[in-house]
Structures are given as structure tokens and as C-alpha cells.
Amino acid sequence: MLKRLFLNPDNLWARIQKTEEAPDGELLYTPVIVVADDTHTHVYLSGQTARQADGSVESDDMRLQIRHTCENIGIGLNHVGATFDDVVTSTTFVLDLQEYYQVSDERFKFFKKNRPASTLIQISALGLPKCKIEITCEAIIETSRLTV
């Protein structure tokens, strides 16, 4: 039997929308999803940007946005007992590849050892216009390490 967990950590931003059916607002997606069997556990993070838990974006600077994005990924991973070393694949969406390349060393302060199979794409816009970068990640850990 698989265990499925749908997690919405307080210290990660998530989009909540009020609807007729849910006047108090409902979560439009799950920030952290975990699917576990006896041996291994998959961890899926919603695409992370530089948004703080309150929804604000502190800076337009690409380097700072990379740092905040990676910090948010760290929060999501840490929430279930995973680390950057456990990330197996990532997709990075940026508004401007050249701007990203100039400061992409910032990312490798976080992804230090095991570097995931990765894809990098330039796109025309992210959900919030101020965001310049978004990173999605998938990680796998031993189920014995899963802590929520």
C-alpha cells in the first residue's frame, strides 16, 4: 500500500483562491507531495520561485532570486527529511538565459554534491511578473528517512 501525503508547510508560499464552493479559500495545488512505499519515497515540489511565505518578492536581482528560490526548495525538502543531495531531476525556467548564466554559480552553493539531471528553459513569463526564475524538483529518499 502506498502512503500519500499532501503537505502545505507554513513557511512556503502557496496560492489560495476563494471560490463559490470554498468561500474561505482553497489551495490550488499542493506545495509538497510525498508518495512512499516500504523502501523508497518520492518527493515532488511545486515549482519554487523567490516568493517569501507571505507572497512577497524581495528583489529583482537574479542572484538573489536564485538564492531565495533555492532556500524555498530547501524548506520543502527539509519538511520531509530530504536534502539537495536527494534531488534526482529539476527543471529551471528563466526569463533571460544570459542573465541567469552570469550568476548561476549561486545555485551551486545549494546543489553542491549530487547534481540532478536538469533542464534549463527560457520562457516568456512566470505566474508572478516580478519572478525571473522558477525551479521544479523531484527527489527520492529511503522511506526510513522520511520525517514530516
Binding site: 500500500m1 502506498l2 500519500r4 482553497e26 506545495p31 508518495v35 512505499d37 518520492h42 520562457i123 513569463a125
Partner: protein, 143 residues
């Protein structure tokens, strides 16, 4: 031992050139306990390749119908989707009618990413969604 299944159902559109399938619409990788399901990015194209839905709301509906059909081919449901990436041509247009999506993704909402791109698939395509699902292998049914 892993079981791998590559499916190309008749009721889903897929790209064939010179008699060769360019990608698998549905890929399944399964061990004794759990089964991963990967769907190719779904657009509003019908199995025939036609794009009848022209506005964003009806395209979202058709895309979700296509995803549901793909998942149904292996015994999975929308509740089993763990992650999705949504590509749209116009974010504002998407936000105005995105409630349509939540008529399908009702309970378990996947870890998600939303991106605006400059084009997707054939002209007229406004949205494409990629999905990955996981189910217990005992639920796997290929049809």
C-alpha cells in the same frame, strides 16, 4: 524486475511521421508495489488531431478530458496525479478561467508549475499540461 509498458491508445492523439510514432503518449514503469505513469503533454487536440476547442475555457476542459482518458487507460484517476506542469500562451487569460481545471482536479491537487510560453504545438493551441501519476501496482489495468 521492472515492467515497462509504452501505450499508444486509439482514442488519444499522437504524432506519427513516416509511419513512426515520435513519442509514447503513455509510459508505465511498474514494480511489485507501485507504478509510475507518465503522460506526454496533452493539448486540446482530439484523437483525430483536430483542434475544435478555440477558447481557453473549452481548451482546459478538453485537455483535462484527454488527461483523464490517458490515466483511465492504465487504471489511474486524476487523484493519482502527483505533479503537473502547465504551459500557457497567456497567463492572464488562463487565470480568468482556471476554475475549469478544478472541476477535474478536485481532491488531491498535484505539485504544480505554471509557465507562459511563446508557442505550443499547432497554431491555436493555448495550453498544454504534462502529468505524472503514481498508483499501487495492484490497481494497474491496461486497456
Amino acid at each position: 524486475m521492472l515492467k515497462r509498458i509504452l501505450l499508444n491508445p486509439d482514442d488519444m492523439w499522437s504524432r506519427v511521421e513516416n509511419g513512426e510514432l515520435l513519442y509514447a503518449p503513455i509510459t508505465v514503469v511498474s514494480d511489485d508495489t507501485h507504478t509510475h505513469i507518465y503522460l506526454s503533454g496533452q493539448t486540446a487536440r482530439l484523437a483525430s488531431g483536430e483542434l475544435k476547442a478555440r477558447d481557453m475555457r473549452s481548451q482546459i476542459r478538453q485537455v483535462c478530458e484527454n488527461i483523464k482518458r490517458g490515466l483511465g487507460h492504465v487504471g489511474a484517476t486524476l487523484d493519482d496525479v502527483v505533479t503537473s506542469t502547465t504551459y500557457v500562451l497567456d497567463l492572464q487569460e488562463y487565470y480568468r478561467v482556471s476554475d475549469e481545471r478544478f472541476k477535474y482536479f478536485k481532491n488531491n491537487r498535484p505539485a504544480s508549475t505554471l509557465i507562459q510560453v511563446s508557442s505550443a504545438s499547432i497554431p491555436g493551441t493555448l495550453i498544454a499540461i504534462n502529468c505524472e501519476a503514481i498508483i499501487e501496482t495492484e490497481r494497474l489495468q491496461v486497456s
